[in-house]
Symmetry: C2
Subunit: 218 residues, 2 copies
């Protein structure tokens, strides 16, 4: 199906133009924004749940949740203290794109917020191809996924600005070679800032929260 190729390129280029527009709006409102990506079940919503209570006394946070179905994630973000929580049901699409985020931004008075967290659809492939216009892309890896994921999903690991390694509390029960994992990460994304954490025990979350706060205040 070679016809598919130029069409996909046109869509990506249209997406990039709208991502620029999203970025300008977010930037003009003085909001720091992240695009949170991961496999299903790596802990995107859990990380949001652990992050919000440590920020919302000082900062106003909006969460935009992309999901194929249900509003479970947006409900969890709201319960964790997000001042605004918007659900995007992608209707089967396997990623968020700039059009969807544009629609969500229309529902927010951006000036009211300090931090915008966009939770992408659980997928280690497609979200990497669609810029949204956020300031930083953050990937959550998860110990039970295995140590070979940078090698197998290079597009995702190559493009991100920060890497959270979640579920480190499970390291004693799983054969995960951190050296092998880190070598794969370094080959694709040298020097990327990395936060090993456990959303269950809270270990490692301080450094992640500090990074967010530094970026909010910048």
């Amino acid at each position: 199906m070679p016809l598919n190729v130029p069409i996909v390129e046109n869509i990506l280029s249209a997406n990039d133009r709208l991502a620029e527009e999203n970025h300008s709006r977010i930037e003009a409102a003085g909001v720091f924004s992240i695009n949170l990506m991961a496999s299903p079940g790596a802990g995107k919503t859990s990380l949001i749940e652990k992050t919000l209570p440590r920020l919302t006394d000082k900062f106003r946070v909006a969460v935009v949740d992309g999901d194929i179905a249900t509003s479970l994630d947006a409900d969890r973000a709201a319960a964790a203290g997000a001042q605004a929580s918007i659900q995007i049901n992608t209707g089967g699409e396997c990623h968020l794109d700039a059009v969807m985020l544009h629609g969500a931004l229309n529902q927010l008075d951006l000036k009211q917020f300090d931090l915008l967290i966009v939770e992408n659809v659980g997928n280690l492939v497609c979200p990497a191809d669609f810029r949204l216009g956020t300031h930083k892309s953050v990937l959550i890896a998860s110990i039970p996924e295995g140590d070979d994921k940078p090698y197998k999903y290079p597009g995702m690991y190559r493009g991100v600005d920060a890497l959270v390694i979640n579920k480190i509390d499970l390291l004693p029960y799983i054969p995960f070679k951190m050296d092998f994992f880190q070598r794969g990460v370094e080959a694709l994304n040298q020097g990327v800032i990395t936060f090993p954490v456990s959303c269950s025990t809270g270990e490692g979350l301080d450094a992640w929260i500090d990074w967010l706060i530094q970026n909010i205040k910048r």
Copy 2:
């Protein structure tokens, strides 16, 4: 981008026609075939590694491995005893389609085999939309992914013929409500045959192997 919709429909319909052709070839050769799907790291390759040594003394098994990059999985399948192991590098595509499997089948003398295992790309969304022409679709869920996955990825859970629940050895360390998970599965796919297993400890694998053998002999 409404232009996208009819194009996607045409691609899916072309895919279905070729899936029919794949199915006829596989069926004519007397091979039982499965399309193995899951999130990244749920255990597709591990299940293949545990399955092959228990079959290859009696049956001849071919494995077709779909991956975005690397041939790590095909190498592992070959090491585990697959009589043939073919790697499809999808070149960035997030799923296998009938065209890719068609190309792989051209490299196999199907009559030489009893079982064909197709390992799809790690993704809980897109593979559900692309029939390959195999006899059965098998989804591997994984305990650390969390108990909400049927609710959040209904398309995948709805369409499969069998469900393997892997990493049950991690149940003591993870808050996973099996009742909640199973209710979600039942709502989408009533009575689907389910195999709780641990590829680490071997627990539950007998029933899975028996199911495969029954289907091979049918």
